[in-house]
């Protein structure tokens, strides 16, 4: 078997795939965070818990209602998105106009409550969620073995990011969202119901997190703290991409996942810190992030 830079291709491409999968989760989660921050000016610390809720919703739909992966992929984001709508309507709405720190504290507190409640009911050992039969197995690409489900996760994440990006950049709804991000009072004075737009945007951002949670369920075990560890890295991704930048969060998410994967090949000890080192360097050189606009 040939080697690339002294590394067996199975190891190199295996880690690259793992990096792409992690990058897919980073991209979808940071996209939701960027959307929410852009319009609501809220750093949504509940995002990791909402990703976990998506995975749990899929598990509950399977075990309580007998609904498998594909219906869960549609239903779980809707269910968790509705909880997001309620959170915005009854809690976050009261913080409008206040320092973003209040939103951060509220969402951080909510994350602790939600994760604590799930831990209380389901424990911390994790619950298994099966790979859907239609995506079981894999294909031998010659240089590596590609599990079908993992390929699907990358593809579904890319499609979700592209569709969201296209809606924001290429439709009238997206133009309204971008305008409301710049000057919500004026957009409302044009006749747009901005409070409703804000609520739905938060709900959609939360639904994206839940979508990522359903994608993650068959790969990682469904676990109350599965989002708590991920969210710190995702915040680093958002900072590197530029707070509120849609394109930045998507490209940075996938890019950093790959960088992390490659670091695992060449310098495994540094793989847990590489993203934070990159964040520190980016903040020193370009404080607004790679794709952010300085204010």
């Amino acid at each position: 078997m040939f080697e690339l830079i002294g590394i067996p291709p199975q190891a190199l491409f295996g880690q690259l795939l793992l990096g792409l999968i992690n990058g897919a989760f980073y991209a979808v989660l940071s996209l939701g965070l960027a959307l929410i921050f852009g319009l609501l000016n809220i750093i949504n610390f509940t995002h990791g818990a909402q990703y976990m809720m998506g995975a749990f919703a899929a598990w509950l739909l399977l075990n309580l209602a007998g609904l498998g992966y594909w219906p869960a992929l549609l239903l779980a984001p809707v269910i968790v998105g509705v909880t997001g709508v309620l959170i915005e309507r009854f809690l976050l709405k009261r913080l409008r106009g206040l320092d973003p720190l209040y939103g951060l504290l509220l969402t951080f507190g909510l994350a602790l409550i939600v994760e604590g409640a799930f831990r209380q009911v389901y424990g911390v050992s994790g619950l298994a969620y099966p790979v859907p039969p239609s995506l079981a197995g894999g294909v031998n690409l010659g240089f590596m073995f590609l599990p079908l489900y993992r390929g699907w996760v990358v593809l579904a994440s890319i499609v979700a990011c592209l569709v969201t990006w296209a809606v924001i950049e290429r439709t009238r709804l997206g133009a309204t969202l971008r305008a409301a991000t710049e000057n919500p009072a004026l957009v409302q004075a044009f006749g747009v119901n901005v409070p409703r737009l804000v609520t739905l945007t938060y709900g959609f951002g939360v639904a994206l997190a839940a979508f990522a949670g359903v994608l993650a369920a068959p790969i990682y075990s469904v676990h109350p703290l599965m989002g708590a560890n991920l969210i710190i890295v995702v915040f680093a991704v958002v900072v590197i991409g530029g707070m509120g930048s849609i394109l930045g969060s998507v490209l940075t998410g996938f890019g950093l996942g790959v960088v992390e994967g490659l670091t695992k090949v060449f310098w495994p000890e540094a793989s847990n810190t590489v993203i934070f080192v990159i964040m520190a360097i980016v903040l020193l050189i370009k404080p607004a992030g790679l794709f952010g606009r300085a204010t």
């Binding site: 971008r178 305008a179 004026l186 409302q188 004075a189 006749g191 747009v192 119901n193 901005v194």
Partner: protein, 233 residues
């Protein structure tokens, strides 16, 4: 002519600052009325209070018989009031076309995009440019054009000539007369007294957050002197 907009005892605050102290005026259907006054008199605040953009306001604002003081600004806009803010409010993240199409149509009878492009050819030529890359005059045209699409019957124009070259000011004046001829009602905030005198049917003089005088559009020399004294010009 019947009053389309009636403002009675309007008071408004920015945080702790009490800005409007009982504004009282009316704008009749199809006329051009101006609010004249020095900087800080409360003209822009009046516009924003009429549009419902200030959280703290009280008194009465009636539009075509509907009381709007307790309505949110998007509900007020949907009654048929179009707002062109000071400094135009062109969105940097939107193209000229997107800026033009941004406000929703609130009533039938608004201009179509082709009609708007015929009136403002530059907007058609630069439809794909970033909105804020237009010249100041073009941005003002865009700010007015996007409201004409909505079908609003009352236009609130906040200092439309501010910072513009005299030739562009002339074009804005011609446009306002054109809008009046089409049957639209215009409430104009102006500091440019000479411009206001050429386009308006009626002037309200604003000082310290209230209307202190009303002057007809066709002014006598005594009216002119009185206005000059108020405005310090």
């Amino acid at each position: 002519m019947t009053a389309q907009l009636t403002v009675h005892d309007l008071e408004a605050w920015y945080g702790e600052s009490h800005i409007l102290h009982g504004m009282r005026f009316e704008v009749r259907k199809g006329e051009v009325a101006t609010l004249l006054g020095r900087n800080g008199a409360g003209k822009t605040t009046t516009m924003r209070a009429v549009m419902g953009m200030l959280a703290q306001r009280k008194g009465s604002v009636g539009f075509e018989g509907v009381e709007t003081i307790d309505l949110a600004s998007h509900q007020i806009a949907r009654l048929g009031i179009g707002f062109v803010p000071e400094e135009r409010g062109i969105f940097a993240s939107l193209s000229v076309r997107e800026n033009l199409l941004l406000p929703p149509v609130v009533r039938q009878g608004g201009m179509g995009v082709s009609e708007i492009h015929a009136l403002f050819p530059n907007l058609a030529a630069r439809a794909d440019s970033q909105g804020t890359k237009l010249s100041g005059g073009e941005q003002q045209m865009l700010a007015i054009a996007r409201i004409l699409r909505t079908g609003a019957s009352l236009l609130l124009l906040d200092e439309p000539t501010e910072g513009l070259a005299p030739v562009i000011v002339e074009q804005i004046g011609a446009l306002i007369r054109n809008l009046k001829n089409r049957g639209l009602t215009v409430l104009l905030v102006e500091q440019n007294f000479r411009f206001a005198a050429r386009v308006a049917d009626r002037h309200y003089v604003v000082e310290h957050g209230r209307v202190v005088d009303e002057v007809p559009g066709a002014m006598s020399s005594r009216d002119v002197e009185k206005l000059k004294a108020f405005l310090g010009v």
